[in-house]
């Protein structure tokens, strides 16, 4: 596509240039020859699907990760960052969703923490100057934040402004805004746009990461698209349209062979109606039929996992009704959910899914110990039989059943967690990002296994951020955006473009079906 074609802006020399950046994690390639160029006073939109490598690239740029290859040039000079503070000192600041903030300290102190100006030989902190400078910064940004307030009392937007003020106070050359508008109101977003304008005028280069196309077209001058950890294209916003960008981001036909089971879904099994939570999601309703795989797609943080956790009884303050086989049920804790035949395989396998320091055998039989008669020696054989059965079904690769789960690969750990929940004989199994961070081989095994589950009559809710996986396996796809259900697609009407568009909150996307 249009490479290095940014019109008048390209006259300025780039402030930041990343060339051929590579990054691998335990053999998995996260970034492969990625390039990114930003000029002074320019907003560069960094685009890509979930898992395209945007966050990894930002972390590489801010010194959290060290790249395995490639070079970073700042003002034409090659730089190497060994740690985040080094990047910060050199003028690269990121405003994240997980902000660098000290809740109990005041706003003014947060801006200057770690480099408070001092007076005299004794090094007495010059509080007066700190507060004055902070006030000046906010005056410049034209936002009203009391500098003596504690950060814990600020709203998300105000925290962003404090971070921007910190960036300004350090004369940042490059400011990275990582989904800065994710939880802001319309008014706060307008305020942010105004501040971005100010930063541009002051000659700051801005990298803007967002999934919202209306925003990107409003603030960005240029774009860079990543896909699967690779550089795809860059160019000027003026030369491209929304559908073209979506096509660049998705970029591939879903041609991988997904072993879709040939099961015709039966009648409704699980009906969720009007699920609400004060801050996380609102009026979520859906029906899961017998033998169906129901996909849930959305951007990271759209509220999918939160809905599933609520369904499994992990979240308090949830309103709405749940019916199983047409009969209303009350689920207030996971134990209730298990009794009603619901199993939940959480996203964070290491912390929520598996007990890493326990052997495979004990992990698998943990939810069903009461059925096994734990203390009786003779039951030990039943425990082993059960674990062996699921280990074989899942093609688990391990030396023996008493091996600690921590010694297994990510994929095999996931299989242990799956086996553990299958042992409860569920009717509905919720899989939250079941193939996240596991190798291709294990992925295929998990996919095959999901198909086999529905053949055996189970119903599956598949929450995944991997588009091909959702589209390849699901009978229907529900799309969430900002805690709300935005669209339902049947298998044949779901195209990558339409699903991504719905997940990005693009109203009434043109359907290319």
């Amino acid at each position: 596509m249009q490479v290095n074609n940014a019109g008048a802006l390209s006259k300025a020399a780039p402030v930041l240039e990343m060339r051929g950046i590579c990054k691998r994690f335990a053999g998995i390639v996260a970034l492969n020859e990625v390039a990114l160029t930003v000029r002074a006073g320019e907003v560069m939109a960094l685009l890509g699907e979930n898992g395209a490598g945007k966050s990894t690239l930002v972390k590489t740029l801010t010194g959290i990760y060290q790249p395995d290859g490639g070079s970073i040039l700042l003002d034409g000079r090659q730089v190497v960052f060994h740690g985040p503070q080094q990047a910060m000192r050199q003028g690269i600041t990121a405003v994240h969703q997980e902000t660098v903030m000290f809740d109990e300290l005041t706003v003014a102190e947060n801006i200057f923490v770690g480099r408070q100006p001092c007076t005299g030989k004794a090094g007495r902190i010059d509080w007066k100057r700190i507060e004055e400078e902070a006030e000046k910064l906010f005056a410049r940004l034209e936002v009203a934040i009391p500098v003596r307030a504690r950060v814990r009392d600020l709203s998300v937007a105000q925290r962003h402004f404090v971070e921007i003020a910190r960036a300004l106070s350090q004369d940042a050359k490059v400011v990275i805004l990582d989904e800065p508008t994710a939880s802001l109101s319309q008014r706060e977003i307008m305020e942010l746009y105004r501040i971005i304008g100010q930063l541009k005028e002051a000659g700051t280069a801005i990298i803007f990461i967002s999934h919202k196309f209306d925003e990107i077209f409003t603030v960005a001058d240029r774009y860079t698209v990543l896909r699967d950890g690779r550089f795809v294209a860059d160019g000027a916003m003026a030369d491209i349209t929304e559908p073209q960008l979506v096509a660049l981001m998705v970029g591939r036909a879903v041609h991988q062979a997904y072993p879709k089971a040939n099961v015709a879904p039966g009648g409704p099994l699980l009906e969720v109606d009007g699920f609400c939570h004060p801050t996380e999601f609102d009026s979520v309703s859906f029906t899961l039929r017998k033998g169906e795989i129901l996909g849930f797609y959305g951007l990271v943080g759209a509220g999918r996992s939160e809905v599933m956790q609520a369904l499994f009884g992990l979240t308090p303050n949830v309103r709405g009704s749940v019916k199983i086989d047409g009969a209303p049920v009350r689920i207030t804790c996971p134990d209730d959910a298990v009794k009603h035949g619901i199993a939940y395989v959480p996203e964070d396998r290491q912390h929520h899914g598996a007990h890493l320091s326990m052997p495979i055998l004990h992990n698998m039989t943990l939810p069903v110990l009461d059925r096994l008669g734990f203390f009786l020696r003779r039951q030990r054989r039943r425990e082993t039989t059960l674990a062996r059965h699921f280990a074989q079904q899942l093609e688990l690769k391990a030396h023996h059943l008493m091996q600690n789960v921590s010694e297994l690969s990510g994929g095999n750990q996931q299989k242990v967690v799956l086996g553990k929940w299958l042992a409860t004989n569920p009717r509905v199994i919720i899989l939250d990002e079941p193939t996240k961070g596991i190798d291709i081989g294990s992925k295929a095994a998990v996919h095959r296994f999901i198909s086999r589950l529905v053949e055996q009559g189970l119903s599956v809710i598949l929450v995944s951020s991997e588009l091909p996986e959702v589209l390849g396996l699901s009978d229907r796809v529900m799309v969430m955006h900002h805690g709300r259900m935005v669209r339902e697609f049947s298998r044949h009407e779901a195209t990558p473009e339409s699903v991504v568009a719905a997940a990005s909150g693009i109203a009434e996307a043109k359907e290319a079906a």
Binding site: G83, P84, Q85, M88, R89, V100, M101, F102, D103, E104, L105, E109, V113, G114, R115, Q116, C118, A122, G123, R124, I125, W127, A144, P146, R148, A149, R150, R152, D153, L154, S155, V156, A157, Q158, S183, L184, S185, Q186, R187, E188, H277, P278, T279, E280, F281, D282, G301, A302, G303, E306, T315, H482, G483, R484
Partner: protein
């Protein structure tokens, strides 16, 4: 306003201490006489000093369980030194105890700061090691008052301008701690570390070095307190201040210093210590069994933790779009 909760908590605590004093005064008027109150204050001074040092540690998300053992070891060092060399100036003895404490504290600091070991495990270990060393050093023998020089014993309770030396030293500690936590980078960094360790690394705070010296200070104060304790009670033996580390931590918790790190004030540490000091002195006066003292302290701790927990309740993640600015603290 939310911002004033911390300040409010200290006001409430101060009022509670006063109410407690008055309540006991109603039953036993002797208790509120100036001399008696002076005694209560003097009795609380060591706790105040140790609680201040402990506060610095707790603010960094750490804990120092070895303070009482450090105190005992340094107290024994001071007592044996003074007994063996009666002519030694008192300043040298105090310095010896203080430096010994500093070194013992720095051992904790090195293990926790530079080797990144969990504070509770490290200080649990050194707690036993230091207590054992008291026995090794003394051979299990006591140093009694007749073996100690007169000036050695007299110093803590001698008065200067109407207040005992103990009170003056505690006042100095309060001032130093207030200045340190409020006006030096060292002190502010401790709060930043306790608030968000990952972020602290981000902004370039030398975490290991800060922790190293924080535990050093804790040990140093315990060392000085070791001399004061031994001189005050005119006896040194292996079990001095046995279990006192928990009283110190209790004072901090009652004073609203968050065990989760990042929050705490000098006033809180002082008031928490005074509260325990008043209870300890008042209960015998109103003829309550000393066994109740421990139960009462426990109840106060639970109440304090309950109040802290209620103040810090957090909701879930904000995913639904907000439609108005949540103005947290526009004044």
């Amino acid at each position: 306003m939310m911002t004033n909760v911390l300040k409010q908590r200290e006001t409430i605590l101060a009022l509670m201490v006063m109410a407690l004093v008055l309540l006991v005064g109603l039953r036993a008027p002797v208790f509120v006489s100036p001399a008696s109150l002076g005694n209560v204050l003097t009795d609380s001074t060591l706790l105040i000093m140790l609680a201040l040092a402990q506060m610095l540690v707790i603010v960094t998300r750490g804990i120092d369980l070895s303070v009482a053992s450090t105190l005992a070891l340094c107290g024994m060092v001071a007592a044996m030194l003074a007994a063996a060399h009666p002519g030694l100036p008192l300043g040298v003895v105090m310095l010896a105890a203080t430096v010994a404490g500093l070194l013992l504290g720095l051992v904790n600091g090195a293990l926790i700061g530079y080797l990144d070991l969990p504070p509770i495990v490290v200080t649990l270990g050194t707690m036993s090691v230091y207590r054992g060393l008291v026995f090794v050093l003394s051979g299990g023998a006591w140093v009694n008052s007749h073996q100690m020089p007169a000036h050695f014993i007299a110093f803590p309770l001698d008065t200067l301008l109407g207040a005992t030396h103990l009170v003056w030293m505690a006042a100095l500690a309060v001032l130093a701690c207030w200045y340190g936590t409020r006006h030096t980078r060292f002190g502010r960094d401790l709060f930043a570390i306790g608030n968000a360790p990952a972020s602290a690394r981000y902004v370039g705070i030398p975490i290991a070095r800060r922790l190293f010296w924080t535990y050093g200070i804790s040990g140093m104060v315990a060392g000085l307190a070791g001399y004061l304790w031994v001189a005050r009670y005119a006896v040194a033996y292996t079990e001095i201040a046995y279990g006192f580390e928990f009283t110190v931590i209790a004072a901090c918790v009652i004073g609203g210093i968050s065990i989760a790190g990042g929050a705490g004030t000098v006033a809180g540490a002082v008031l928490g210590s005074l509260f325990l000091g008043v209870i300890g002195n008042a209960l015998p006066v109103v003829k309550v069994s000393p066994f109740w003292q421990s139960a009462l302290t426990g109840l106060v701790i639970l109440a304090a933790v309950l109040i802290n927990a209620r103040g810090n309740q957090q909701g879930g993640r904000q995913i639904l779009p907000l439609h108005q600015i949540q103005s947290g603290s526009h004044t």
